[in-house]
Amino acid sequence: MTLDSKSPTGPIETRWDRHRFSLKLVNPANKRKHTIIVVGSGLAGGSAAATLSELGYKVKCFCFQDSPRRAHSIAAQGGINAAKNYHNDGDSVYRLFYDTVKGGDFRSRESNVYRLAQVSLNIIDQCVAQGVPFAREYSGYLDNRSFGGAQVSRTFYARGQTGQQLLLGAYQALERQIGSGGVTMFPRTEMLDLIVVNGCARGIVTRNLITGKVESHLADAVVLGTGGYGNVYYLSTNAKGSNATAIWRAHKRGALFANPCFTQIHPTCIPVSGDYQSKLTLMSESLRNDGRVWVPKKKGDNRNPSQIPEEDRDYYLERRYPSFGNLVPRDVASRNAKMVCDEGRGVGETGLAVYLDFRDAIQRLGKPVIVERYGNLFEMYERITGEDPYAVPMRIFPAIHYTMGGLWVDYNLMSTIPGLYVIGEANFSDHGANRLGASALMQGLADGYFVLPNTINDYIASSKLDKIDTGHAAVKEAEQQVNCVTKRLLEAKGTRSVDSFHRELGKLMWDYCGMSRTADGLKHALAQIPEMREQFWRDVKVLGTGDELNQSIEKAGRVADFFELSELMCLDALERNESCGGHFREEYQTPEGEAARDDKEYSYVAAWGFRGVGNPPELHREPLEFEYVHPSQRSYK
């Protein structure tokens, strides 16, 4: 298969405009004859469902939560980028484009990223008009801050709840369409398979999570906005319900999966406190502006941190990176924390944490300044750990919180299955090997409000789809497949709970396909995963029945998919013999210990095709070309 990205050529500034003009339109009167399914109701799915309905399409929207407002986009704290240049500080669409390509370590598509930067302007306008209460200056103008090491102030925010407010904006737009009858909403309904007829995506099979009823929904096109797959690791900053089932089952129906090994680790999370831990909580990395990261110099130094004198402390980031110090990028900070913990110098009960100390900042600036800057974060930390970070240093550790990989899509956001579109974190397209702060919200809304509603018309207008009903053989086959999985899980009647398997898989992935990877480690994981998967199917214990609210069966299906996806992640990581962005292979580093990219061999998107569980997947390569931003090495010394 040749991967046609359908990227326009010519001057990058006008690519999107020219492309949009070349796309076919659907007559407004005809739009209501077409049904579009949107799975997921977060920033991408929610905004897409609302906008498609505004255009006149009949929309069916699905989410597994009890309300579309619960989607995990809601947890984003920091903000959303837009190249408004309201501060006259030299920002521009081109600079946001440049920063994003470079930040992605040259593994994204220039055309897509440029469009993202362009559309960022419209997103802010749209959200303001919807009533998103962005922070304002006394004059009434929008306030901005600089974020994640950017040199310009382009981040718009609503206190520490930007994701929540943007999601509520999209949710309200969606509810307006539900109220007017344009969107039919299916909450507590999970997509369990994709229906493909004559090679085109024509619908989905769902399970009603309350009654257990398996149903099929048919449409002219299917849009997946179902988020990332960070929960492969069991412990992550994702919501407990976040899962890869929708994209994975679409993958098994023929959609290629791109760059699965590109995962992002966030350095300032609250560490694990015990083996009962169910999830990890992220704290804004702005904490590193004033906190100093350290561990004891000696292994096994169990003294209370206040009793460890200056000469016995190792401020390892300041020592290794004198010019950036504690402000090195996310991946560098994370890897170094792992390194010192691997050396046995980690702190806390588990030894898997480092100190983030505000003692010096409090002495220098006074407590009131620290309260003003970080009060809410300190409160959150104290609520979870029961420790007062004004008195004792915080303990932090990195955690998985975003996945750049996802289903492969072209410039129109269509996957390799015609009629199947993938938006937001669920696709792979815009962040390359590493996502910059305040860019996830931007991409979700860009895809949902402005990109997909323009590109999908072309498919609807130009494809001739047969009329089908739920009696079609492909529909029956997909339903049967779903029922078969449920039955198999219920009939295993083994001895171990779903969670115990998920924890085991998560730990293996974290150890061998987490912050840093080696060929040996990945090979070890690749040997273990099939064994664990086999054991899962044999020994999993799922109580109850399939025709009731049964949270164990929901989890079991998702974990079954993680057992397959994790294998692909390791394989992709093993195949990519270079380090780039969030993918760090220990064999490939510069003498200073930084990620060493190999642009000659690996400047491509790795898009994998499914060939059956346990069979080696097929690798397709989409070469990446950089006409505008020329690849360079990152350095933070």
Binding site: A129, G140, Y141, M185, S273, S278, Y449, E548
Partner: protein, 254 residues
Amino acid sequence: MRIVLHIWRQANAAAAGRMVRYEVPNVNHHMSFLEMLDILNEDLIAKGEDPVAFDHDCREGICGMCGCMVNGVAHGPLPGTTLCQLHMRHFKDGDELYLEPWRAKAFPVVKDLVVDRGAFDRLIAAGGFISVSTGSAPDGNAVLVPKDNADRSMDAAACIGCGACVAMCPNASASLFMGAKLSHLGLLPQGQPERDRRVMAMEAQANRELFGSCTNIGECEAVCPKGIKLEVIAQMNRDFLRANWVGRGGLKGD
């Protein structure tokens, strides 16, 4: 430490429910409340008993999905805290806790501690929005918003829609939830054109959903995990009166 739980078990919406006693012997004080329930469920699964169904998702106190009554208080004893952010260090060895689902006519029980809060979504669908279709917005700075209004709007917009206010209210009124949305949008210039219509439509829907009336008791404010203030209800009442008076609501209250 050892915690004794009495939990409402109800197989489905139609079944009768009852309180069942459980013991969780090895509770670590660093655990969150939901992690304690996870442990109980792992135990129940090992014994071959049906685990307790409860709603939860982000476990960071922002998605609004979790919540139940703990000894008669929505989200438990710690003020300003969702159930997922409540940690076991606030309890002591041997404590007996009674867990019940949100109780309100408008929130029917689905199973055990899980309730159906779809009525909240229908309130928003009735009018809790600004009608702006994608693409028609002017520049973000074209309409100025006084900082004070933006801040107060944000205070109200912080509502997570968990339903604790309804569960705690003796009348099962949704006034704090509605007031929060009406203040969020009503404090912004963008929300003015539909202000009268919005309050009338949401009030009418609240009556259809069988939410009760507000008698200003303030239990809702006391348990709100996001600190939404009673003043949003006062604002809602003023808006409602005005909309009725000027007759521009476009809809009559039921």
